[in-house]
């Protein structure tokens, strides 16, 4: 007969499967947290360099003069808004697909859409500020501006839809359909300057018709840095917004669990 003498062999001390899983989960969470912090750090440093290069180093434009400096902020903001809506669209599509259905995708879609709304709002504001000295007006019912404003309102509606109370699965399905419908406006916004006569200039960074770029030298590098930095900031923001949604869902679930336990205790004293 063998006696269990060593601490490792004692059944009471052996790690339970759930503890092991929790340990792995915590390690993965810490690693994800470090990666997210790296995104935030490099995004912040990149933005500092973008501002420095954009305001003080790059030359003024031949036609627009110093006003061209808004180029390093306005198009990257618009790009991130499109990216955010693209991520929300793909997540929602994956959620509606029965094989990949998960509330993780619903939370990701919600987080990405919220960040997208912030970036769309900023795109509209910076564009409006740029429009005043260039076109002589803050706002005009131009196809691009109008469709962008519509995009902003559509996703505000999507965020409102997410707040409608109800079962998590039902809400997620409803919101996924909402995200797919709202995304229809994204290609319309992008191609509106090509399809209709617009006051807004046609794409200069990358012309979708002939694949040419009309920005060169230090201006092109600064713009590229702006695109990369804002994208890193987007990833960092979505990561934190996702975690917030996850914590709120856990709060709701555990609150419900505690309420049920309390009721049971009352019923069986």
């Amino acid at each position: 007969m063998t006696l269990l003498t060593t601490r490792q062999e004692t059944p009471d001390d052996a790690p339970r499967p759930d503890q092991d899983t929790r340990g792995q989960g915590q390690r993965a969470s810490r690693r994800a947290s470090h990666i997210l912090s790296a995104f935030g750090f490099f995004g912040f440093v990149g933005l500092c360099f973008t501002v420095w290069l954009g305001l003080w180093i790059t030359p003024p434009d031949e036609f627009m003069g110093n006003l061209v400096r808004l180029l390093y902020v306005h198009p990257p903001l618009a790009w991130v808004a499109f990216l955010a809506y693209g991520v929300a669209f793909l997540s929602s599509l994956a959620y509606l697909w029965p094989r990949t259905r998960s509330l993780v995708l619903d939370r990701l879609a919600g987080a990405s859409a919220e960040v997208g709304v912030v970036f769309t709002g900023l795109t509209l504001v910076t564009g409006s500020i740029w429009g005043r000295p260039t076109w002589g007006t803050y706002w005009t019912w131009d196809p691009l501006l109008t469709t962008t404003a519509l995009l902003f309102v559509l996703y505000l509606g999507y965020l409102a839809l997410r707040q409608v109370p109800g079962d998590a699965e039902v809400r997620a399905r409803r919101c996924a359909i909402g995200a797919l419908v709202a995304f229809i406006d994204v290609p319309i916004v992008y191609f509106s300057v090509i399809w209709w006569k617009s006051l807004h200039q046609a794409p200069t960074v990358l012309d979708p018709i002939n694949g040419k770029t009309y920005v060169h030298g230090s201006m092109a590098w600064t713009l590229l840095l702006g695109f990369v930095s804002f994208t890193l900031v987007y990833v960092w923001l979505v990561g934190h917004r996702y975690r917030l949604a996850e914590l709120r869902d856990r709060e709701d679930d555990e609150g419900l669990e505690a309420a049920i336990a309390e009721r049971r205790a009352e019923a069986n004293p």
Binding site: V51, R69, V73, V118, L122, W130, L237
Partner: protein, 58 residues
């Protein structure tokens, strides 16, 4: 430079900074609330709070 450029940069970065701060603060607050609730539930012997972490600093 004209005031338009400065206004554009200031508005863009201040709004982005405020939003980022609000997200991080709300996330921290939700995490603290959850840990505190679990800790209280564990102390009270509720099944909802078993095997959960105690709040940081307590």
């Amino acid at each position: 430079m004209s005031g338009y450029i400065e206004a554009g940069y200031i508005i863009a970065f201040s709004v982005l900074g405020t939003y980022a701060t609000s997200v991080v603060v709300r996330e921290r607050a939700a995490g603290t609330r959850l840990r505190r609730r679990n800790y209280d539930a564990t102390r009270a012997g509720s099944p909802a709070g078993r095997d959960k972490d105690a709040p940081v600093g307590n």
